[in-house]
């Protein structure tokens, strides 16, 4: 079998591409770390500018609906005032309990602060500016300062890490439900990712009474995250007569686009 010169050249080019890709994958951590180091000074300000611009553009449709929203907020405000008055009674108890238990982010966990650099274009992953040099390891939970769970470390480079957000399709973890009006419910379920910062509650038995507005916290079951980190709030319940389990849509407690600083729990 004779190869023409053109076929031979094409085969050589394909072989070179395959070899280069193979080598790049062997050294992928170093290659990525190099590009992230070069890009970080540009990426950080661009992320913040994008954040500001999207906030500004988000205000325009809000102005249109502001009158109706103002009325709703006014009503909500009155309801909250009533709630505050009720909660005021518990304030002293909570303060003394807090002092006794020494509740606080730094006291609960050992933390490393990090900044977001970029987001993966196809999946729900973000890149942060702390890596193995700062003691970050794979599977460490990532939270905000309000104790809202964001995700877990999926890949660690020297100075950078990839965080798999809870909205990633591969993400699932155990949670507990809580209603502000009831006592703590004995309901647990699994929160799964649906991409594009969307999450949903799954595997809740049909007979369990879940309501819109129920607040979801992480559970230590499964050992992925520490317990009592805020996940979000139920917005819509989906159950039908055929299935023995029910699902619910969740509004995440925080929008990743609004987050700049986050914390990696290195020990809990």
């Amino acid at each position: 079998m004779k190869f023409s010169q053109k076929t031979f050249k094409t085969l050589i080019v394909i072989l070179v591409i395959v070899v280069v890709i193979f080598i790049l994958n062997i050294f992928s951590k170093n290659v990525r770390n190099f590009f992230y180091s070069v890009s970080a000074p540009i990426q950080k300000p661009l992320w913040k500018i994008g954040n500001s611009v999207s906030d500004f553009l988000g205000v325009i449709p809000w102005i249109k609906n502001s009158k109706q929203e103002f009325e709703e907020l006014k009503n909500e405000n009155q309801e909250l005032l009533v709630k505050i008055a009720e909660l005021e009674g518990f304030k002293d108890d909570i303060e003394s309990l807090k002092n006794a238990l020494q509740i606080g982010l730094e006291k609960d966990f050992k933390l490393v602060m990090a900044e977001i650099i970029s987001k993966d274009i196809s999946d729900d992953y973000i890149l942060i500016d702390k890596g193995s040099n700062s003691g970050v390891l794979e599977n460490m939970p990532v939270i905000t300062e309000q104790k809202v769970i964001l995700g877990k470390i999926s890949k660690v480079f020297k100075n950078y890490s990839k965080v798999m957000l809870i909205s990633n399709k591969e993400s699932s973890f155990d949670v507990n439900l809580f209603n502000i009006n009831d006592e703590k419910k004995d309901i647990s379920g699994i929160v799964k990712g649906r991409e594009n910062f969307n999450i949903f509650l799954d595997l809740v038995p049909r007979d369990k009474d879940i309501k819109q507005g129920d607040v979801i916290f992480t559970s230590k079951l499964g050992g992925i995250f520490p317990e009592n980190l805020l996940v979000g709030e139920i917005t819509e319940i989906k159950k039908n007569d055929i299935e023995s389990l029910q699902e619910a849509e969740i509004k995440p407690a925080i929008d990743i686009k609004e987050v700049n600083n986050l914390f990696i729990i290195t020990q809990y």
Partner: protein, 101 residues
């Protein structure tokens, strides 16, 4: 002169990838600007030229660097797309509105 042109193109694609993952990501993940560039470039380029395929390879490389998967996935995908456009679209479909560069 040619090497400067190539360097500028590589820098342009790099900044496109950086912009995509930092700035445009706040407005949704609907557009992949590097994919759009590769498609447009290959559509308007003569079928015999190979710069469209090179751009696909470079663009794919930067997409791989800033994404979570294996390095090579986007490189091969974009190269395949550009070859497909060259072989099928440009060879068999004539678009009079598209000029030659």
């Amino acid at each position: 002169m040619k090497s400067i042109k190539i360097l500028l193109i590589i820098l342009f694609i790099y900044f496109l990838a950086v912009l995509q993952t930092t700035f445009f990501v706040h407005f949704g993940d609907f557009f992949n600007f590097i994919l759009i560039l590769v498609i447009i470039w290959n559509l308007i380029e003569e079928s015999k030229k190979i710069s469209g395929i090179l751009i696909a390879g470079i663009g794919g490389f930067f997409l791989d660097i800033f994404s979570n998967g294996l390095i090579g996935f986007n490189i091969l995908l974009l190269i395949a797309i550009s070859i497909f456009i060259k072989l099928v679209f440009v060879k068999y479909v004539r678009l009079p509105i598209l000029g030659k560069i």
